[in-house]
Point group: C2
Chain length 396, copies 2
């Protein structure tokens, strides 16, 4: 099969979104989730004429008519019902956040008056500003404050609390299994023999999709067609999505594509014209999906950043707006492939600059630690990508 | 006391970092934490001459000397020790990721040969590329891969797994209590009376600092000097940092500064020349710190974004490089104060543009939901900030 382009691979994957049911969760844990209900103002906001200064509340016409000394009738505290001015010549002490006493329409701040022997004496030429955050001036009862389908942000937690939503209806997260294959792999706590290496891909990929997935199960499959087939069959009963790493090349023990066909999976594509990550395989069966990534840790991670994470975001309604950056220096890349180049991003006076992080070469896992994104240099005949050109950037 | 500038407030706060001990945690949970040990390569990487293509391994001199047909001696599988070429005229089938058989120095990919009856027949004019990722070519055993003091990134999880670090030494996180005051506040699940509102600030602030803090305890204090004093005293025995919201203005029941002085806290500053969030108070006693934020939800949140979160990042060694954005339209702001303007950020061909999100006004909590950052417009005499000017931006 011919390689397909990055763009087509990406478009094909997004043709298979999951349909996710809704679930109710505690609002404190809802950041990053997607609303499945409109959130309405349960009352007017502010719910009362809210004082915005510490000072006294009075009736402005008295001041405008020349009155300068106002007997202090009492103190309006927060948490107590609004007091009522006995008459238009009195005043009540108020504080930021308290309700405006009934009969008053203006607050004069302490800096503009003196209080002695129960009387507030005001300066002579005050601009009469209300200093009130009026009842319902932000939102009216019944108005939609947060829309169905919107991602819940950090400040939204305060909004949900304000309108009294201890629980909130959101899309459930897809259930995911991450599976490695490759007989050369041993566990993190084990000491590998010279021809073995430790299992590592799963951890970074699991962390990358953690905000978008549920009950990530990790497992490892031996390089054996029967074992691979039966293990994948089991995992697919319990999960919406399987992410595999390894076993997708043309090697003698690359059983993954065959095993998936055995259990009825349809291949959507195999191999993308890109570096790294060429051998990626993607397939589906009904509403189950499999991303089979290469075994090389850098390749697997890049494919996860470019295809897997965006697919989760898309399904959930969390798709991010594309980000672009200026290439920080000339780059030569000969193969006629898209190149996912590791970069460090810098914000220079409002411009995003992407500096290549070549280090020990792009196959070097440790090198990824210095990068914070990759720049997607599109496939083209010529090998030069010029400093100052703008390309799409993918943070990780 | 006079207002101080945003810059001075920020500098004063950063004069009081916490000294944080180290702790050992499972590597899978270490993203975003800060290393307190160097992570070394425990072996050469790759640990063997690693084959990068599916094909056959042979000795290149035989091909260069004209040999085109190579008997296939066997198959090198991943997870098995490297085989040895019986002689320079033989070949061994190999796969991506397997060790290079001993005696071989080159891999020819399947696309460039045919295998039939136990012999591999090669094309005539192949460029002899090694297709080997050489032993130790990425990192040498003992070399530092991740540096003490560096934040642990998502790809670092794969690195920690690769070098066999199931546990990792990191800085412990500061222990934090978040406390609200204000007798007008009721809980999220309660129905407020007309003069009451629900407690909301804590949730957004807790979420904002969650990656940087431990065991966040939430509580509420009544507007009463004695109760405030004794409650704060108790909380300070158990936590490194207290974040308060409310009770810092000049109101009759704004007991927070007094209560903190009662238990021996030294005020570092009170009131900043900024909008919103003017009444913020900051103080310390030995190695305990208190951030006392205003009660208004928007003000409290902005102060947390501008001062509290950056302080945590600074203490932990996670300080981010400043980000800047172009102001997307002219803005008039008269008060001689720094203005934290809510904005929506857009990446337009590599340039970061900040568009003001004015909505129902900056005091409106629901408005924050549409913004994803604030632009810091510095205090100045003139009121005009011009489209195209570049200012510092703080994401939340």
């Amino acid at each position: 099969m011919e390689f397909i382009s990055v763009e087509i691979a990406s478009r094909l994957i997004n043709q298979y979104p999951l349909i996710l049911e809704e679930e109710k969760i505690p609002f404190e844990k809802s950041t990053g989730r997607v609303l499945r209900e409109d959130i309405l103002a349960d009352r007017d906001f502010p719910p009362f004429d809210r004082v915005t200064m510490d000072g006294i509340a009075l009736h402005s016409s008295s001041y405008l008519n020349g009155q300068r000394v106002f007997p202090v009738q009492g103190i309006q505290y927060a948490g107590e019902p609004a007091l009522t001015l006995e008459n238009e010549n009195m005043c009540i002490e108020v504080m930021t956040g308290t309700p405006l006493p009934k009969g008053a329409d203006t607050v004069i701040r302490y800096e503009d008056l003196e209080i002695a022997e129960g009387n507030a004496t005001l300066q002579d030429t005050l601009p009469v500003k209300r200093n009130i955050h009026g009842l319902g001036s932000d939102r009216r009862k019944g108005e939609i404050i947060l829309k169905k389908g919107a991602p819940i942000t950090v400040p939204d937690l305060a909004i949900l609390a304000t309108v009294g939503k201890p629980e909130v209806l959101v899309s459930r997260l897809p259930s995911v299994a991450i599976v490695t294959s490759g007989d050369e792999l041993v566990e993190v706590h084990q000491t590998p023999l010279p021809h073995q290496i430790r299992r590592s891909n799963v951890y970074a990929i699991a962390e990358l999709i953690k905000p978008f997935s549920n009950m990530v199960s990790h497992s490892h499959i031996a390089d054996n067609l029967d074992a691979t087939t039966s293990e994948l069959k089991l995992l697919l009963e319990k999960h919406d999505v399987i992410i595999l790493s390894g076993g997708v090349s043309a090697g003698k023990k690359d059983f993954i594509p065959q095993a998936l066909e055995n259990i009825g999976f349809e291949m959507v594509f195999h191999k993308i014209a890109q570096r790294p990550g060429k051998p990626m395989w993607f397939g589906r069966k009904e509403n189950k999906l499999v991303f089979a990534l290469p075994g090389n840790p850098v390749s697997a991670f890049m494919c996860a950043v470019r295809y897997v994470k965006p697919w989760f975001q898309e399904c959930l309604g969390l798709a991010e707006k594309p980000e672009y950056a200026f290439l920080g220096k000339n780059v030569n890349f000969k193969p006629n492939l898209s190149y996912f180049m590791q970069v460090k991003l810098q914000n220079e006076k409002g411009k995003l600059i992407a500096l290549p992080e070549e280090g020990h070469g792009s196959g070097d896992l440790a090198n990824l630690s210095n990068a914070d994104a990759f720049l997607e240099l599109p496939q083209k005949e010529e090998s030069l990508y010029e400093k100052g050109e703008v390309f799409r950037v993918w943070r990780f």
